[in-house]
Symmetry: C2
Subunit: 333 residues, 2 copies
């Protein structure tokens, strides 16, 4: 039985100083967790992302590094569940592939090994829709059996996706050979309060808002028909909680928002919610930027997540973007 009830249990969020980490900490604390430990080296994770939590009596912030087994073994002592978020994404992988491959592969091995050593009862691994890749093959419904498309994509994006594929398989290995239950959640592009600047796709929302705040027209690459499929951070926090609570193990499921959106729809919605602004300008490709493309309209199917852990997304983009904009207007960034 792989279920870890939240109330009374202790959790470690590895890579906790992050958008998803801080939201999940709040979710687990609200559900009665005995303790939540946010483990991060804060090299990317911002202490500001967890500042609102740091005085919580059941929350503990631990400065540590996934590359150091001693840090992980100490942090996981007495833990019931571990959420593994620590990772380089595409933009950082492009800048530092040595560090990225360390963290995304050896870091996962270290976290799984330390979890076994400490008797952790379940691991939830944050994977990504990057396991389906990029380019012309990405169209229609993306289900969990969709292969990894990489032809023509930038090296760092392919490397990032491949590290997530390896991380998932390491989880399967630790379940089969070491008896450590796990659930893999393949997040689609996350957005919401405490948004950071590290993800190529989510960054676009922030850049659009910044353009509008300066009175400049937002930029749309190409004709604006390109699809994006986001997920609201609060929905992911709930998915993480439900992955611990459910009896499921040894399964990988997509976590995406209610529906995909085109770039043009996104920019129009952001403009409307920001209180209006100049019409978007349609621009060509920008040299030097890591651009992730698809082959047409697509949707990341999340039906399997409902059957496996009972989760479905609740917050649509109008609501989620309103919350993000409100949070930004309150002086956050």
């Amino acid at each position: 039985m792989a279920s870890v009830p939240i109330a009374g249990s202790r959790f470690v969020i590895i890579g906790g100083g992050s958008l998803v980490g801080s939201a999940t900490a709040g979710e687990l604390l609200d559900a009665g967790a005995a303790e939540v430990r946010l483990f991060d080296n804060f090299s990317m994770g911002a202490e500001s992302a967890v500042a609102h939590l740091k005085d919580h009596p059941r929350l503990k912030i631990i400065r540590g590094d996934v590359m150091r087994m001693s840090d992980l073994l100490a942090a996981l002592e007495g833990a019931d569940g571990a959420l593994l978020l620590a990772a380089y994404m595409t933009l950082n992988m492009d800048r530092d592939p040595w560090g990225g491959l360390d963290v995304n592969i050896r870091g996962v091995q270290n976290a799984l090994e330390a979890s076994v050593a400490r008797g952790v009862r379940k691991v939830v691994f944050a994977s990504s829709n990057a396991v389906y890749g990029y380019g012309p093959g990405i169209k229609g419904d993306l289900v969990e059996g969709t292969p990894f498309y990489s032809e023509g994509a930038p090296p760092a994006a392919i490397i990032y996706g491949a590290t997530k594929i390896i991380g998932e398989q390491l989880c399967r290995t630790y379940t089969a050979k070491r008896g450590l239950p796990h659930v893999v959640l393949r997040y689609s592009t996350v957005y919401g309060e405490r948004q950071h600047h590290r993800a190529a796709n989510a960054l676009y929302i922030i850049e659009t808002l910044e353009k509008l705040s300066r009175g400049e027209p937002p930029e749309i690459f190409g004709d604006g028909s390109e699809t994006k499929h986001f997920v609201y951070v609060g929905d992911l926090a709930r998915a993480n909680r439900m992955a611990f609570e459910s009896a499921a193990s040894n399964v990988a499921v997509n976590c995406s928002g209610p529906a995909p959106v085109t770039t043009r729809q996104l920019v129009e919605l952001v403009t409307e919610l920001a209180g209006g602004g100049p019409a978007p300008s349609f621009v060509g490709e920008t040299a030097g930027k890591v651009r992730l493309t698809s082959g047409g309209a697509f949707r990341i199917a999340h039906e399997k997540a409902f059957s496996a852990i009972g989760w479905r997304p609740e917050v649509d983009m109008r609501e989620g973007l309103s919350r993000l904009i409100k949070w930004l207007k309150e002086g956050n960034a």
Copy 2:
């Protein structure tokens, strides 16, 4: 201009104590290479695989490890070309995923970094048809843009394929950012003289021969209609040489034999060439074995290799198996 002529040039074969390494050393020496250095830690590579070469005046055997930059920097001093073969394959990856991920990823980074530092003029990277994966998606013509299928495959096989995907992308990165030309050759299953026991598919040929030599019926899993696509080691040695000689860079091509074969055809051919033997027995799945499946008849297309580096396979399975069997009968193993 990325061409490295063989005559007068110096080459390092990293992971040289191997089936492909020893054959390529012979190929490069025959073509007039000034020096060929076989670099290996001999943890898997057998010294017996290179014993026939060790007194060659232009060959040097260097004991070293891809995990040690100092070893690589010393070995690559003054080298014109580097062939990167060192890797764990699926069976070893299953037994030791920590070592395998080190060698297949950090080992590639180390080799590329050392090649840049030493002014190597071209790297040839040994990738694999494992970048197309396994399972139901594997059918028809597999071309270089075919995605990576992994649903339902064993973790170690998926991890192996993903490390090869990452290795290829690291080559692209070093070409783009560091100016190091490269060619990726995606080998299909290699067989031939000095065959080892480490590859799941090629092992099957050896196992069949061993059964026959004991007078036992060879085993066929399932109905024998499963496709395999092998390539003869001498053809690969030639592909490696031509990859150095050609002006091509920043390209990945398949290297497969003239035609695929079904398991049944293979066993019948091996039985005939071995001088006859009992009819094969058809058996069910064997628990505990790493079995790599496909979705039906497939062919690994090698036409792009011809247009990129002028290579096509020359040795068919009847000829290649005859050579392997002759070599085994001469008392080798």
